[in-house]
């Protein structure tokens, strides 16, 4: 304090504030930003240059393949064969355009495809209602999405002959339709189930706790592929001969239980992060255990684990592609079967199919990730601990 060149007088009172001075030019502005963020140290500068080199190496060929050299129209393989077209051929988008209906609906009968379309519309409506945080009547939105929409969709897609909707066996369903159904059922079932399991694992009743621990550890300890094979091949062996479970429903249940076990551990992490004082505060006010959980603990715990929950949703969404190996014609499987069509045998067709699949999954996963970020920020507004 007194280390200045002039020793401070023993008694000192400041009468006026020292005026604020403008910052030096290297503190703000674009140059300062570059210096601070990209070239703050020799190591940082090297990394910046390396990153630029990688971008220069990767982006132009990718752009050339996907856009510049791509073929956009055509009716068969000739459109995408370099020896026919007479120039290097990149992505064969004509193939995707030609097969798009197969990718969306699988083998769903062509004259009935309005039904999946209505399903997509109903789904978009419900998802929009739930995700729009300021939407009117959100409780009704939840009722619609979790009760009305599944029942109506099932009747719509599977058919109700009594109402003049011919039945369509699930063996004909396919493409994005099936991928979306499997993910939606998995996501919608795994969160509530996971919350129940997480609560059960913290229960004071040993039987409940034991059951939940065994359930969670069993499903987490088994690969999803095994679950799917078991569901498909072995489950019918255990059931009486006259009981058959739909071949799409079997992996659906398997995926839902599998992801519920993961979800349970994510939620448990959130529950453990809530201080004991929150429960005590709620107890001292006379709130019942159910109210304490629903009004105080869960809202805080779930908010903490939003990143983990979305992480699980994204993993689940991509893992649904595994149902293709037990004979379900999901989106990946339709690409797999379309790419070997001799009518489209051209050098880049396979890569185009996979590029399209990557794009499809990326759009959905990135959407989920961005929405979660938005919701986190929105919920955290003004509520720092």
């Amino acid at each position: 304090m007194t280390a200045g060149s002039q020793p401070l007088p023993l008694a000192f009172v400041r009468r006026e504030a020292v005026p604020a001075s403008p910052p030096p030019s290297l503190v703000s502005g674009p140059l300062a930003w570059l210096r601070q963020n990209l070239f703050s140290s020799p190591a940082n500068a090297v990394m910046t240059l390396a990153a630029l080199a990688v971008i220069a190496l990767v982006v132009p060929p990718l752009l050339r393949f996907l856009v510049l050299d791509a073929v956009w129209t055509g009716q068969n393989r000739d459109a995408c064969r370099p020896e026919v077209v007479g120039r290097p051929v990149g992505a064969c988008w004509a193939f995707v355009a030609n097969k798009i209906n197969y990718f969306i609906y699988g083998s769903y009968p062509i004259e009935e495809r309005w039904r999946p379309n209505v399903f997509f519309a109903l789904m978009a409506f419900g998802v929009g209602w739930l995700l729009w945080l300021d939407a009117p009547r959100r409780a009704w939105g939840a009722l619609y999405f979790f009760v009305v929409f599944p029942l109506v969709s099932y009747g719509l897609l599977a058919g109700v002959p009594a109402l003049g909707l011919p039945s369509v066996p699930t063996a004909l369903w396919g493409g994005m339709l099936v991928t979306l159904i499997v993910s939606l059922v998995g996501i919608v079932a795994s969160l509530p189930l996971g919350i129940l399991l997480a609560l059960g694992r913290r229960s004071r009743l040993p039987i409940v706790r034991l059951f939940c621990v065994i359930f969670i550890e069993f499903w987490r300890g088994v690969p999803l592929i095994t679950v799917l094979f078991m569901a498909n091949v072995m489950l019918p062996l255990f059931l009486p001969g006259d009981v058959t479970v739909d071949r799409l429903a079997r992996p659906l249940v398997g995926i839902a239980l599998f992801s519920a076990a993961y979800m349970a551990e994510v939620v448990r992490g959130g529950l453990q992060a809530i201080p004991r004082g929150q429960t005590e505060g709620a107890m001292s006010l006379g709130l019942s255990p159910w109210h304490r959980m629903r009004l105080i603990i869960l809202p805080q715990a779930l908010r903490i684990v939003i990143p983990g929950i979305v992480n699980s949703f994204i993993a689940l969404f991509k893992d649904t592609s595994l149902v293709s190996i037990v004979g379900i014609f999901d989106f990946i499987r339709t690409i797999e079967s379309a790419r070997v069509d001799p009518a489209w045998a051209a050098p880049t067709v396979v890569m185009t199919g996979y590029a399209f699949a990557a794009l499809f999954y990326f759009v959905f996963c990135f959407g989920m990730s961005r929405y979660a970020r938005f919701m986190e920020r929105r919920l955290a507004a003004g509520q720092t601990r």
Binding site: G277, E280, M283, L285, L287, S288, R303
Partner: protein, 275 residues
Amino acid sequence: MASSPVPTPPTLPETDPDLAPRNTSAARLASAPVAVSLERVNKWYGAFHVLRDVDLSVRKGERIVICGPSGSGKSTLIRCINRLEEHQAGRIVVDGIELTNDLKRIDEIRREVGMVFQHFNLFPHLTVLENCTLAPIWVKKMPKAEAEAIAMRYLTRVKIPNQAHKYPGQLSGGQQQRVAIARSLCMAPKIMLFDEPTSALDPEMVKEVLDTMVGLADEGMTMLCVTHEMGFARQVADRVIFMDEGQIVESNTPEAFFRAPEHERTRLFLSQILH
């Protein structure tokens, strides 16, 4: 040990008029019904005997300050009164209801007994107003508008009505503790428990919380306060209790307690905190 209030009338006039004991009338309490009674209460944490044969009876309107070294069982004692901790032997009767494992009775008692914690325990995901209306709405099934009107009345009383729509994290410690007091009062409790309400606060915020508590005492609230604010004890307490090693070692009127502590351990403790 201290099953009835000690009716020694105050004789010593305090030097600081602001710290003068207020209506410490033994007559007022002598006729009042018993609000809380503890008979030979014992509690163990594992093998550790934390409460040993505690006897205490609190009359309606009585203000009791409990002090003692850390680990002496004073927090545990008041947390037993609303069953945040379970006692293993003895009887605890609150407002005529005996505390047993009967969940309905525990709920009944918690509705009658408010509690203020050292770390506030406000709900960070709810606004100040929602913190206050939550229990009236869900426990007492009060209509929302009515609960909000009551909450605003108490928030005004603790002098923070203009913060009603903020979240607890946006308030200072002193403000948060006053919200916590208002939140308890919204349930219209007959008895208030304070568990070191000012020990987590910055020094300049202690006074605003203590002032709120003094106001409550002036209105005749039955209060049990675990605190080391001896000025507060002198000013409002009808009785000061000193605990050590899970027992009530000394219990007396504040004047006698501070002027002439009888027990050796009390003297030692007071000399340590009243430096």
